[in-house]
């Protein structure tokens, strides 16, 4: 594998972007199609057979000696959020391309076929819905839901499919079957600070955390801030502040389980210098890979809501907005990736993924794993997102080794 060729791949792909700071390559846009077509050409040049499925996923196949055996697959996505960096999703696709190029360079043959998948619409940035391509591939797409999706310009997903030469009514045909894929491993940037802080080169994902989300509304009384004595107040901001701190405290107690709790949205009414805040709205995201641990934080939130309402004479309600279940990675794949790192002297860390990925869906179809490479300062979804080519090459080495072992190199 060649570091300089990998670097060139990133440079070439970064040219496919709409105007704006950083990378803007939103799902199902012309810009993303052009990037996809460029990559399909590169995969063909590396000897793969390339097709686009009914959801717009690219499936590139490197035939094995036994074409009837299930494929060993890897992949990620090339669509981005607004003002994105160059590595989220892209890393997994371009490293996979580099692995395929190296196999072509060396004339390697495998027993099982290999696959590189470029998933469509992983990011929710355009349609408010994430991992549409991998959901379609794993039969997890709700038809009624997909028909309701529109982007911020009012363009429906239905119409967008047409612009891409696809038909939303046929998207169920993208579903694949259990015996088609032997194993799927996605390489991705960590998007967090753990590998860098712990000085590990590779993260081996044990499970993908899933969020429960709540809307908490705090109702108080909007009094004059000069004329209302402190002991007559029902200050909604202060009630909200106590709840936010209680979520933090509960999540800190679950540090060993990696459970996290965040109040990411917090707004108050009326928000005037001389008025005691009369209402506060908090949006709370609690996620983890251990369901019991996650539930303890949810319970602590509910307790804080009750205690604060009683103590401060506030009217507080909490509404569960969504609840998703964590996804375990395949334990044999985790073990094999760990063994590969040990053999190659690569420092690695078993860790949960706090963010969602296409692998969440693929895990319902076939044994699935993930390889994380470090993110500088933990920054992601930002033009400052950075992983060095050297770090990516370590990931490429582990991914290549895993695929060849699984595919029984001859």
């Amino acid at each position: 594998m060649k570091l300089e060729r990998l670097r060139q791949s990133f440079e070439e792909l970064a040219r496919f972007t709409d105007d704006g700071e950083g990378i803007n390559r939103l799902a199902y846009t012309e810009t993303e199609r052009n990037a996809r077509d460029f990559l399909m050409k590169q995969l063909e040049l590396a000897g793969l057979t390339v097709r686009i499925d009914y959801a717009g996923n690219v499936i590139a196949r490197r035939e094995g000696r036994s074409p009837d055996l299930p494929a060993v697959a890897t992949g990620s996505h090339i669509d981005s959020v607004y003002a994105a960096g160059e590595f989220d999703g892209t890393a997994g696709v371009l490293v996979a391309l580099e692995v395929m190029r190296s196999l072509a360079d060396e004339g390697v043959e495998t027993e099982h076929p290999l696959e590189v998948i470029i998933f469509a619409c992983e990011e929710s940035a355009r349609f408010g819905a994430s991992t549409l391509g991998s959901k379609a591939m794993t039969g997890r797409l709700d038809p009624a839901y997909t028909r309701s999706l529109t982007d911020k310009n009012g363009i429906t997903l239905m119409r967008t499919f047409e612009e891409n030469g696809l038909d939303l009514d046929e998207v169920h045909l993208a579903e694949r079957f259990r015996d088609e894929i032997k194993a799927f491993v996605e390489l991705h940037i960590e998007q967090g600070p753990v590998l860098e802080k712990q000085e590990a080169a590779i993260g081996i994902v044990s499970a993908i955390a899933a969020p429960i989300r709540f809307h908490v509304h705090v109702g108080g009384t909007a009094d004059h801030s000069g004329t209302t004595p402190m002991d007559y107040r029902h200050d909604a901001l202060l009630g909200g502040a106590e709840i936010a701190l209680a979520v933090e405290k509960a999540a800190l107690a679950e540090l060993a389980y990696g459970t996290v709790g965040t109040v990411g949205v917090f707004s108050i009414e009326p928000g005037a210098m001389n008025v005691v805040p009369g209402a506060a709205d908090l949006y709370v995201d609690i996620r983890g890979t251990n369901l019991e641990s996650r539930q303890r934080v949810v319970d602590a939130l509910a307790t804080a809501v009750n205690d604060t309402a009683k103590k401060r004479g506030l009217n507080i309600w909490m509404d569960e907005m969504s609840r998703e279940e964590p996804v375990q990675m395949d334990s044999k794949i985790v073990a094999e990736l760990t063994a590969i790192c040990e053999e190659k002297g690569v420092t690695c860390l078993k860790m949960p993924s706090g963010a969602g990925h296409d692998s969440m869906n693929m895990a319902s179809l076939c044994p699935t794993g993930m390889i994380f490479v470090p993110s500088q300062d933990g920054i992601s979804h930002n033009p400052a997102e950075y992983t060095s080519m050297e770090q990516l090459m370590v990931g490429a080495k582990v991914l290549r080794s895993f695929m060849l072992r699984q595919a029984n190199v001859l």
Copy 2:
């Protein structure tokens, strides 16, 4: 004095309002001019001589036997905030009118002249600057500052003065002299819950609190809320929450002094469900009539800023936006108002005013006091603002008695 006539005055004045919920009678508008002209007519009918000064204040004078003696004055304002109630300011003006009408009814003569003043532009709602009329009357108006003022439609105060037949360059001529006024007492609604909760009919203001205001900026790190472990975070919302709660705790400890501390504005960035808040901005208002008590709350805020910055690895700064000094009411006037209440069997409470009033400025010119009447539920600056006619009549009785005593009724 006649309760029904007072009620009718409120009904008549409430008709002078622009469109919108509640009362909308902003300073120096045509609507306020029409209301002013109506009241000037009523004051003339009650036997007063009425003029408008260089700032747009109305000065209505009921001559005394000794015209050269200083006047005993009362008054308030008739301009309102947006979506106001019917009582803020208006109560002091219409009660004064009723007192004057009763003196005319009874043919009462006084040694000292009496005055009813309708101050211009008490509310900051239109130009972002409050008590302009009483500032002008007491020589406290900064010319450069007034020339910089514009309303939200971009209309300057300069141009507004012209529309009112006034000249901003001549506003200094509105200044009055120390020997013109013997005493000034303003009747006003409390705008807070204390009188109602303590079941007192009258509040006698001991001092008017003044705010110190701070902008506190909390700088943290906007990390991915799924991928950043709890112990790697620098969450600006949580830092801000701790500071807001520290302000409350410090102000609660000053309950005996009536000092209050409020975070009325609190906003976070970026405010997304899956991002740890990277910045928070708090606007803090700390006010009281006791300077040492107020300073203890300011010190507690500064301590909380330092402690939170250190503990959470946040970058926090605080900026003092403004600092005003509390104003003591004249102790002899407080004593006389108290004596009047006792004589008349009116329950009264000596209390600070948490809100600012024209009396703050008048106190620099002459001995000044304030009479508060209760506000239902403490609500003000709101269409639900309410004080009953019976409660206002108690205030009228105390005000009339005070004015006649001071003016040496014959």
